[in-house]
Amino acid sequence: MILFAMQVSHFAAAFTFSLFASVVFGITQRPTPREMLRYGAYCFGVFMIGMFIAGWIMWILHH
């Protein structure tokens, strides 16, 4: 049963995915709140940079 068909862009989907995954990675992979925050921000940054790099690689391969 489909509740409703929400349409999102690839960027919006990747952004929300990165945000939630980074929160969980930060909390579960580091012992102290300060380190959790730093590691969560690091993961989010890596997700975002990786997404842009992958996007440009796909654009170059396509053209």
Partner: protein, 140 residues
């Protein structure tokens, strides 16, 4: 004096028993309700953040018409999809009971949604393992 001598050896045993039961209870509760394994150990902020992240990810996956995998013995990716989905615990059970989710992935957003649902299950497993580590004292 004699009283303290007779009661002190029992205290570590009681504390160990409590820690032992929490080591079983915390991951089980964490699997069933995302973030609850941290909440029952009074890690309020961590528990709430985990709960919001995992529940929202699962809900967004459903809203994007993602697919909830059923137990299957077919394609390897379908089997792995089921394994990931089951990690969401109570959310997966609720989704199956209410027959939520798409049956066929026909467009890109539905594919994103399916991945959201699978990954929310995997993240919930990570949260359950973390709750276990807190219960056994490996993590503060």
């Amino acid at each position: 004096m004699a009283n303290s001598e007779t009661t002190s050896p029992a205290r570590p045993t009681a504390a160990a028993a409590q820690a032992g039961s929490m080591a079983l209870l915390a991951p089980a509760v964490a699997w069933l309700i995302p973030g609850a394994g941290h909440l029952i150990q009074k890690r309020w902020i961590r528990g709430l953040l985990l709960m919001v992240s995992i529940v929202l990810m699962f809900s967004l996956g459903l809203a994007m018409s993602g697919k909830i995998y059923k137990p299957n013995t077919g394609d390897l990716l379908d089997i792995l999809g089921f394994v990931g989905d089951v990690g969401a615990g109570g959310l997966y059970i609720l989704g199956r009971m209410m027959d939520w989710g798409n049956t066929a992935i026909a467009f890109a957003t539905a594919d994103y949604g399916t991945k959201f649902i699978v990954v929310s299950g995997l993240l919930n497993v990570m949260a359950a393992v973390d709750a276990y580590h807190i219960a056994i004292g490996k993590k503060p």
